[in-house]
Amino acid sequence: MNSLPYPIQVHDLTVSYQRKPVLYGVDLEIEAGSLVGVIGPNGAGKSTLIKTIMNMVRPNGGFVKILGKSPKAGTKHIGYVPQRESVDWEFPVTVMDVVLMGRYGHLGWFGRISKADKKMAHECLEKVDMLSYANRQIGNLSGGQQQRVFLARALAQESSIYLMDEPFVGVDAVTEKTIVSILKSMQQSGKTLVIVHHDLATAKNYFDHLLLLNMRKIAYGPTPKVFTEELLQKTYGGRLTVFSEMASQAAKQPEIETAKTIGE
C-alpha cells in the first residue's frame, strides 16, 4: 500500500536563523489525502517548517522530500498560500491577474495564457464566490476576500499538495466556513493539505491529522489521538496559560474523550 512515496517527508530536520535553532530534529511523514493542521504557540516554528518545505529556508541538518524528490524538484507539485503579511497588497494586479498566476506553472517559458486557463480561473473564482470582484485591485478587498483570492489561485494551480500559512487570520466567519468546506472537498478529491492554524477551539473539527509543534515535534497523528490535554499542555507549556486553559477545556469535551478511548 505504501509503495508510493509520501507527499511530504521530513527527516531529522534542524533549522536555525543566525545560529538560533528554531526547529530541532523534526521527523514527519504525511500520507496522501491527509488534511493536516499544524498547531503550536507563536514562534514555535510553524511558518519556518512550511518555508523549509517550500525551499525558501535552507535547513542546517536533515532533509525534506516531496513525493520522494528533493524540494527543488518537488515544489512545483505544491500550491502555497502565503501568510497575509508577506503579500504586497499595493501591487498593481487585479484579482483575476493573481488567479491566473496559478496557471503559470503549467505554461512553458514562452507559453501564453489560453482560453482554457482563463475559463479555469473563472471557475476557481466562482468556487470561492469572488467572481464579481475579478477586476478589483487586490488591495481594495477585505481580509476575508483577499484570503479567498489566494485560495482560488491555489485551486487554479491544480497541485497535489497544498501548504497554507494561517489562512484564517483576519477572516470573517462566512469566509472561514467557505474556506473550510473547500479544504474538505479538496481533501476528498485526493489532495494532501497542510494548514498552519492558531485556533485550538476549531482545530479538532477542521483537520483529520494534527501536528503539534514547538521547536520539536510534540506529536503527529490522527486528530482524536493527538488532541489530548496532556499533549496540548506539552505543546503550549506553562508560558501561555490562556492557551493551555483553552487547550484543556477543548480537550475535555466529550466527543474527543470518546474518540480517544476508541483510538486506544
Binding site: N55, T75, K76, Y80, F91, P92, V93, T94, G105, Q137
Partner: protein, 310 residues
Amino acid sequence: MPLIPDFTINQVFTQPWSTTQLITWNLQIILMGLLVCWTCGLVGSFIVIRRMALMGDAISHGILPGLAIAFITVGSLGIGTMFIGACLAGLTCNFCIEWLHTNTKIREDAAMGLVFTSFFALGVTLISGNAGNIDLDPGCILYGELGLIPLAEKVEINGTLFGNRAIWTMGVVFICVVTGAIVFYRQLLISSFDSTLAKSIGMPVKVIHLGLMLTLALATVASLEAVGVILVVAMFVFPSVTASFFFNRLSFILLSSFPLGILYTLGGFHLAHWLDCSIAGAIAVTATLLFIPACLLGPNGGVCSRFMHR
C-alpha cells in the same frame, strides 16, 4: 533679472520650429527625449513595483567610477565599453556592500549609503580630475545635455552616414527593452509579486533579477549623455508612480509610459525654451508638475479619492 522670464508664444513655441535647420536639430532632441523617457519608464516600472526605487538611485550613482574609467581608458562614449564599465562598478559596489554587511557590524542600509556615496565621490573625482586633458564634461555626465545630442558623431557604415550615434544607441536599447518586457512579461510580473510562487514553479528568480539590474544599468548608460546619472532616476521613477494613480494593473502602467513620455519631452522642451535652461532639467520638472495633480486628483488612491472614501 527676473526669476521667471516673460512668456511669449513666439519664443517658446514658434521660434524653435521656424527654419528647416532648427527643425532638424530640434527633432533630434525630441526623438532622443522620447526614447529616453520611454526606455526608462518601462524599466523603471519594474524597478518601482519591486520596491527598489531607491536601489535605482543608488545604482546609477554607484556605476559612475566605472563609466569614468571606461571613458578615460577608451576615450569615447561608445555604449559597449561604458556598459562594461558600469556593470563592473555595479558588481564591485554590490560585493563591497555584501562584504561590509556580513563581515562587520555595519547594517545593510548603512553599508549601502557608505558604498554608493564613496563610489559616486570616486567617480566625480576621476571625471573632474581628467576634465582638462580630454573632452569629458562633468556637468554632462552628472546632469546630461539633451540640447547637445545633435552634436554627437554620425554613425558611419561603409562610408555611408546613418545619423546620430547617441540616438541610434538609445533606439536599439529601447527596442531591446520593449522586446524584453513583452517576451518576459509573465516572468517579471510573477517574480516581482510573489517570488516564492515563481521559484516553486521553477523560474530562475535570481537570473530574472540580475537581468533586470543589467537592463537598468544599460538604460542608465544609454541615457547618460542626454539626462546624466542624477536626473535619469526621475525618468525611472516618475512615469510608473504617476500612472499608478490612474491604473491598477501593471500592463496599463507600462503602457502609460508612452503618453507620459510624450508629455514630459514636449513639455520639458518648450519649458526649457521659455526659461532658457537645461532641457533634461526641464523634463524632470515637467514630470514633477504632472505628478502633483495626479497624486492629488488621481482616482486610484489619490489624496482626494482617499478623502472622499472616508
